[in-house]
């Protein structure tokens, strides 16, 4: 672990104290060890990438982070506090939002409604004022709608505001899903392969959105990605996993020259 409290990135942004710390996480499914004794931290304001070959345990790691899996050993600290046993919806209320590798949008609802669902953790009016509608419920709806419209503008999806998401092409669905996660104004945003299955242009767009989210809203981001070019360009620090173990951790330059990482990706000659 680094002892320093903050550091400066090459482009001049300040990276603060750890938002999330994973301490000696071990996750088993029966006899299979998916994650083995992994520790790392995610610091405020940074873009942290998790990379590794297929089956390395990256998605399991993300699922541990947002409470979908409960590790058998180890501790998760979020914003300085140890996290007890919690359900995923409680963790969402703490300020962790995520997107999925396979899009998990609400297909029967419009783009606008999907992004509005991201605001649910912030909407507090009770059922009776919902029934009455005029007054508190309508004010709350309008206030949240304004914020959602800003996200819609930001992601450049104004024209599909009222389209059911089931009808949208893949790239746009990914963008709507990012919008839904952003609408929660998360303290930590987890992105599971945000660029999977995209062409070069879509990847460039998505990279731009991720960088802008980090830059404009100051959101801390942890992402899993396979495209090395993208990871090396946008990530501040990278964790490399292989067979459930951490084999590298550091800036993209450090990771790139790490012998273990090179071996994991390119293979090792056995004599």
């Amino acid at each position: 672990m680094n002892a320093i409290d903050s550091y400066l990135t090459p482009d001049g942004r300040t990276i603060g104290a750890p938002v999330m710390e994973m301490k000696n996480i071990t996750l088993r499914f029966g006899g299979v060890v998916a994650i083995k004794d992994i520790s790392f931290d995610i610091r405020e304001g940074e873009i942290r990438a998790i990379i590794g070959p297929n089956g390395a345990g990256k998605s399991s790691m993300l699922n541990v982070m947002n409470g979908f899996y409960h590790p058998q050993e180890g501790e998760v600290h979020f914003r300085g506090e140890k996290r007890g046993p919690m359900r995923p919806h409680q963790i969402a209320h703490q300020g962790i939002a995520r997107t999925f590798q396979n899009i998990a949008l609400f297909k029967g609802m419009s783009t606008l409604d999907n992004i509005m669902t991201g605001r649910l953790t912030h909407m507090k009016t009770g059922m009776l004022s919902q029934i009455k509608w005029w007054g508190a419920a309508q004010r709350e709806e309008t206030a949240n709608r304004e914020l959602v419209e800003k996200i819609i503008d930001f992601l450049e999806i104004q024209t599909i505001r009222k389209t059911p998401v089931g009808r949208l092409p893949y790239g746009l669905q990914k963008r709507v899903e990012l919008g839904r996660a952003l609408a929660a104004e998360p303290k930590l945003l987890l992105l599971d392969e945000p660029m999977a299955g995209m062409n070069v242009e879509e990847k460039e767009d998505m990279s731009r959105f991720i960088l802008d989210v980090n830059d404009e809203f100051g959101t801390t981001i942890a992402l899993i990605e396979h495209d090395m070019g993208v990871v090396m360009d946008i990530a501040d620090r990278v964790v490399v996993m292989d067979y459930g173990k951490k084999i590298g951790d550091g800036t993209p330059e450090e990771v790139r020259t790490n012998q273990d990482v090179i071996d994991a990706y390119l293979g090792v000659a056995h004599d």
């Binding site: 947002n66 979908f68 359900r87 995923p88 919806h89 969402a92 209320h93 939002a97 995520r98 999925f100 998990a104 949008l105 609400f106 297909k107 029967g108 609802m109 409604d113 509005m116 669902t117 991201g118 605001r119 649910l120 953790t121 909407m123 009016t125 059922m127 919902q130 029934i131 009455k132 509608w133 419920a137 309508q138 709350e140 709806e141 309008t142 709608r145 304004e146 419209e149 839904r180 996660a181 929660a184």
Partner: protein, 358 residues
């Protein structure tokens, strides 16, 4: 040309979020309301009220209730008949136990009792889904009917095992019992329908409705964005049963006057309401009305045509009615699986461009 939305600009989010964003629809809605309240009570005769309008209004409430559960929250239920029975017996016990209690409160309280029972039977929904949940609610249906048959306390130990509604009135006008004027019963039901439909619309258009629909469309993703699945499903069961309980109470107290549980609230009632919701359109308040109208009007219409116009014997017409209504349901599901509400939406799309095809 007939139906237009051009020039209908919204300048605030509140205006964009209203129930009828298009002025034409809004006026249509107000005119329908005014017609239903101010004109219909004076022109309608007893036959129409008893054969068509009252059952339509009461079943519309039940259909809205089931639509909240099945259409908005995605939880299949075959227990509607049983929950209607809970509403009816709660109303009966309240009316006989507290003779001074106003009938409006009786009906709302019956809804409340049914909501609690519905939430109880909704508990398994956290663990089981789809067909399995449908079977669990089917168990509720049979259990509740059995309960009201076997425990004499529920029908006040009457010899016939039937329950019958005593006379209750509002502002001096009898609403239940033999002396109730049809027009008064009609207005009484209409008030409930309007208020409950309005409440359902408000519940489904905001944060609450989005929680239900999120659970319906993908429950895992819903949980990860912060929706508590148990709480959300139970509120859906509660609200849905509240509506269905009110419908049951009104069916018994206002429409039937006397009821026997197996006959009035059997499994066929559950299916009838499920058909209304599916034919009307899942996830649409308007669809609930359309489905209720279809299922209530179609048999009456067929009977009038076959017996009145063609002069067929009554029993043959009754059998043919089953065949034709059944056939129509199948045809409907094939041609437009999203129901009458979707047909209405398509019709509006066409009307927008009429008389031009594109």
């Amino acid at each position: 040309m007939i139906y237009r939305e051009a020039g209908d600009f919204k300048t605030s989010y509140a205006k964009d979020q209203q129930t009828f964003p298009i002025a034409f629809d809004r006026w249509g809605y107000f005119i329908t309301l005014a017609f239903a309240f101010l004109v219909v009570p004076f022109i309608i005769n007893d036959y129409w009220i008893n054969a068509v309008v009252l059952p339509f209004l009461i079943y519309a409430i039940a259909a809205i209730g089931l639509n909240i559960l099945t259409g908005y929250c995605g939880q299949v239920s075959l227990g509607s008949g049983g929950f209607m029975a809970v509403g009816a017996y709660a109303a009966y016990k309240l009316m006989t136990g507290f003779p001074d209690l106003n009938i409006v409160f009786v009906i709302f309280l019956s809804g409340g009792v049914t909501a609690l029972v519905g939430m109880l039977f909704g508990l398994p929904s956290l663990r089981i889904k789809g067909f399995y949940l449908a079977v669990a609610t089917l168990a509720a249906q049979f259990f509740l009917v059995w309960l009201f048959n076997k425990v004499p306390w529920f029908y006040n130990y009457s010899a016939s095992g039937q329950i019958s509604a005593p006379e209750r009135s509002i502002f001096g006008y009898a609403v239940t019992g033999a002396n109730a004027l049809p027009a008064v019963s009609y207005l009484f039901c209409l008030c409930f329908v309007v208020i409950l439909a309005w409440a359902a619309r408000n519940l489904t258009r905001g944060a609450n409705g989005r929680k239900w629909m999120a659970i319906r469309d993908m429950d895992i993703a819903a949980e990860i964005i912060g929706v508590n699945p148990l709480k959300t499903k139970l509120t859906a069961f509660g609200v849905s049963s509240f509506y269905i309980g009110i419908a049951g109470a009104m069916l018994f107290a206002v429409y039937l006057g006397a009821a026997e549980v197996g006959e009035a609230f059997g499994i066929s009632k559950s299916f009838l309401i499920l058909f209304m919701v599916i034919i009307g359109g899942l996830g649409s308040i308007f669809g609930s009305f359309a489905g209720a109208a279809f299922m209530v009007l179609m048999p009456v219409l067929l009977k009038n045509v076959m017996v009145g116009q063609l002069g067929w014997p009554t029993d043959m017409a009754a059998h043919f009615e089953f065949v034709i209504v059944g056939g129509l349901i199948v045809l409907f599901l094939i041609v437009e699986p999203h129901g009458l509400a979707q047909l209405w939406r398509l019709a509006k799309e066409k009307l927008r461009l009429w008389p031009f095809p594109h």
